[in-house]
């Protein structure tokens, strides 16, 4: 409820402000020659404005940190959820695909084979679904304060990285258990994780922008993510896909990334043409997605 006493407060401020007013007109306050920025309708091609995004990197950090902090608040299991999801999936897939269906796994024990695929996959799916809901979930921010909106879905992707790091500990334990030899190729895991993050960011920011306008995305997204999972060699090796359909996997950049992830992990040869194609598609998707986001961005505050 509003109170009349506000006026008194504002009145006091007024006094001081009026004093500042006169002070200002006396002192020669220097304005920049050119405007700091100009506001006008944008049409057609919109620049990404990466410089501004860089200026707001601290906000990206704080929003990521908030997402991580808040994610497992008031849950009994806490961060164990980050581990539980890929581990339970691994157990289920091991039972049904490994034991019952005798799915081949390129000579790697099926549990660790599956987990090595599920780990980056869980990261990508968590990041994409988190980013997809992020803008709508931040409606209060979007309508009240300005900052580059791209920060919001990006923060969701960065926050998913935390789960990835936690779940990686399980992978490490399994590698010791199964006696997987450590190898210099494992250095590739870092750039591969980055590639997965960029791909997730590309999909996530596009979904988040679409979600603002079409809430259908909220319902379609979990389904699409499920389809994506089966279209990616996670619980099966790419080698079981018949040669003439292999190009279909190539179109999906995530399959190149995950195959390379496994290759690096188990010291197998990395299929560079596939990986290069995946990287190229990822970067192209990221650029297109960011531009699409910037174009849709101008409507966000009005329709979110």
């Amino acid at each position: 409820m509003k109170t009349e006493s506000v006026n008194d407060a504002i009145g006091e401020w007024a006094g001081a402000a009026a004093a500042a007013d006169t002070a200002a007109s006396q002192s020669d306050h220097v304005l920049p020659g050119a405007p700091l920025f100009s506001i006008m309708p944008r049409r057609g091609w919109v620049s990404l404005n990466l410089r501004e995004l860089w200026a707001y990197r601290e906000l990206l950090y704080f929003l990521t940190w908030r997402d991580i902090k808040v994610r497992y608040k008031q849950t009994v299991l806490g961060v164990a959820w980050a581990v539980l999801q890929p581990v339970v999936s691994m157990i289920l897939f091991t039972l049904f695909f490994g034991r019952l269906a005798h799915m081949p796994s390129d000579g790697i024990p099926y549990p660790i084979f599956a987990y090595a695929g599920l780990l980056p996959w869980t990261f990508v799916s968590t990041a994409v679904s988190g980013a997809g809901d992020s803008l709508v979930g931040s409606a209060a921010l979007v309508t009240k304060v300005y900052f580059p909106r791209l920060v919001i879905p990006c923060a969701a992707v960065c926050a998913a990285m935390m789960d990835f790091a936690i779940a990686s500990v399980v992978l490490l334990a399994m590698m010791l258990w199964y006696g997987v030899a450590f190898h210099w190729r494992m250095l590739m895991l870092a750039p591969l994780t980055l590639a997965a993050a960029l791909l997730a960011a590309a999909a996530g920011m596009w979904m988040s922008a679409l979600n603002v306008k079409y809430r259908d995305v909220r319902y379609a997204l979990p389904f699409l993510i499920q389809v994506w999972m089966f279209a990616t060699p996670i619980i099966y090796p790419a080698s079981i896909v018949p040669e003439r359909w292999r190009w279909l996997l190539g179109v999906n950049p995530l399959s190149g990334i995950i195959e390379a992830f496994r290759g690096a992990l188990f010291g197998r040869a990395i299929h560079w043409p596939d990986l290069s194609l995946a990287a190229a598609i990822t970067l192209t998707a990221l650029a297109c997605s960011a531009h699409a986001f910037r174009r849709m961005e101008r409507e966000f505050a009005d329709i979110v």
Partner: protein, 442 residues
């Protein structure tokens, strides 16, 4: 001197109902289909007609120059474009036409507690909110202790803010905002929440920071505060600048042009004020069972507000504020003493009726602001409509009112019928002496 803000031909067009709903794919597909048909049909005729019909200009052809150090008031009815103007200046939304050049950093206070998260502690929220409002990390660290001391929450700084009282919450949110230091500050009446003592402190701080040349755009419905705060004031009407002159004359003009009364107001679907928790449907003034914009000073007046609750189990508060024609806030009344006040309300249509006793208002125009807010866990306004309805209070000069047979004007913002007892002390003293004397004899 060169202006710090120049606005030229600024316009913002909304599709009708755009704010109220979001699209879904099917609708969008059918729309583009019917638009295509419509375009074919209207080809011979005026092609723009259809577009103009479905759109409203929230802001149109606005030209303004604001000088450095100037404190500019912006007034106007609900929907006149005040908030749209601030949103464009703070780059939250993009204009449809025109151009704004800003020669300084802009900070906007369109809401208190922007970016606060209930699960995070006070400390964490300071960092988060300050970063969202545009402060750099080093700047926050440097000012952290200052902010905490200012908010008076030292003891609870590591407690999640969801356990804060609403007063503490507001204080902390204010404290962060008060330590912002941009060259241009946009303020949208947010200062009207929180307890008064703290607000004074907060505003004192802001003025202290505003040393030499901070420019302020201040949107308010409160004419006295506009008059006190601003030298210059802009009156917006239907998205256009109606007046731009010294504050006194503009507020006077607004008041004179705005004494029209309206006993019943209903909002069409798609334009109902509110958010996804509550939306206002209608406000009605009745006296003795009749809808009327002229009420007898002696009898109770009932204000009914109809609203829709869209979120399940919200703990809501409905309130009405009353203003006189000068914009003085007479009082506010909320359903705080309703026996069900703390009960979460299920979704649905609601009607809250506030009965105001007779012999309370003064004669003249009373303007009513309707509000629905969440009371717990954090006070949050869902809708606040100034000048929702207005009515004229008349004293017909019959018995039963304060006036009695008095024919001259009675000053004062309120006119309660108070009880008076008058005694002639001289006579009383004489009688007492007489009584004592006579009893002393026997």
């Amino acid at each position: 001197m060169k202006p710090i803000i120049t606005i030229r031909g600024l316009g913002k067009r909304y599709r009708i109902g755009e704010r109220a709903r979001y699209g879904n794919l099917r609708e969008s597909i059918t729309n583009s289909f019917s638009n295509a048909i419509g375009a074919v049909r209207s080809r011979g005729r005026n092609g723009h007609g259809a577009v103009e019909q479905n759109h409203i200009w929230a802001l149109k052809d606005v030209d303004l120059d604001v000088m450095p150090g100037e404190v500019l008031g912006v007034i106007g009815r609900n929907g006149a474009g005040k908030s749209t103007l601030l949103k464009i200046l703070s780059r939250i939304t993009e204009p449809t036409a025109g151009r704004v050049d800003l020669y300084g950093r802009v900070g906007s206070l369109l809401e208190v507690g922007t970016g606060f998260h209930p699960e995070l502690t006070g400390r964490e929220n300071i960092y988060l909110s300050a970063a969202i409002l545009g402060m750099k990390r080093l700047e926050i660290e440097r000012r952290f202790d200052e902010i905490v001391a200012f908010a008076e929450v030292e003891k609870f700084i590591d407690t999640p803010v969801k356990h804060y009282s609403s007063g503490m919450y507001t204080r902390l949110a204010f404290a962060v905002a008060a330590h912002l230091d941009p060259e241009i500050l946009l303020v949208d009446e947010v200062l009207a929440v929180g307890d008064a003592a703290f607000q004074k402190k907060c505003l004192g701080k802001m003025s202290q920071v505003a040393q030499g040349g901070r420019t302020v755009l201040f949107v308010s419905h409160n004419m006295p505060s506009i008059n006190r705060l601003c030298r210059r004031c802009v009156l917006l009407e239907d998205g256009r600048v109606k007046a731009d002159a010294d504050a006194q004359s503009v507020t006077a003009q607004y008041m004179i042009s705005d004494t029209g009364t309206m006993a019943h107001r209903q909002w069409p679907h798609g334009q109902r004020p509110g958010d996804d928790v509550a939306r206002l449907l209608a406000v009605t003034v009745t006296q003795r069972g009749r809808v009327s914009d002229t009420v007898d000073i002696r009898f109770p007046v009932e204000i009914e507000m109809g609203y829709e609750v869209l979120k399940h189990d919200a703990k809501l508060l409905s309130a009405l504020s009353f203003f006189d024609s000068q914009g003085v806030h007479l009082f506010v009344s909320g359903d705080l003493n309703d026996p069900q006040w703390s009960q979460p309300r299920p979704r649905g249509m609601y009607s809250s009726v506030c009965s105001i006793p007779g012999n309370l208002f003064s004669e003249g125009v009373v303007r009513v602001a309707a509000e629905v807010a969440t009371r717990e866990p954090v006070y949050q306004i869902h809708l606040l409509v100034y000048d929702s309805v207005a009515f004229q209070v008349v004293d017909v000069g019959e018995s039963g009112s304060v006036r009695g047979r008095w024919g001259r004007p009675i000053p004062g913002a309120m006119r309660p019928l108070c009880h008076w007892r008058t005694a002639n002390l001289t006579q009383l003293k004489a009688e007492t002496l007489h009584k004592n004397a006579s009893s002393g004899v026997s």
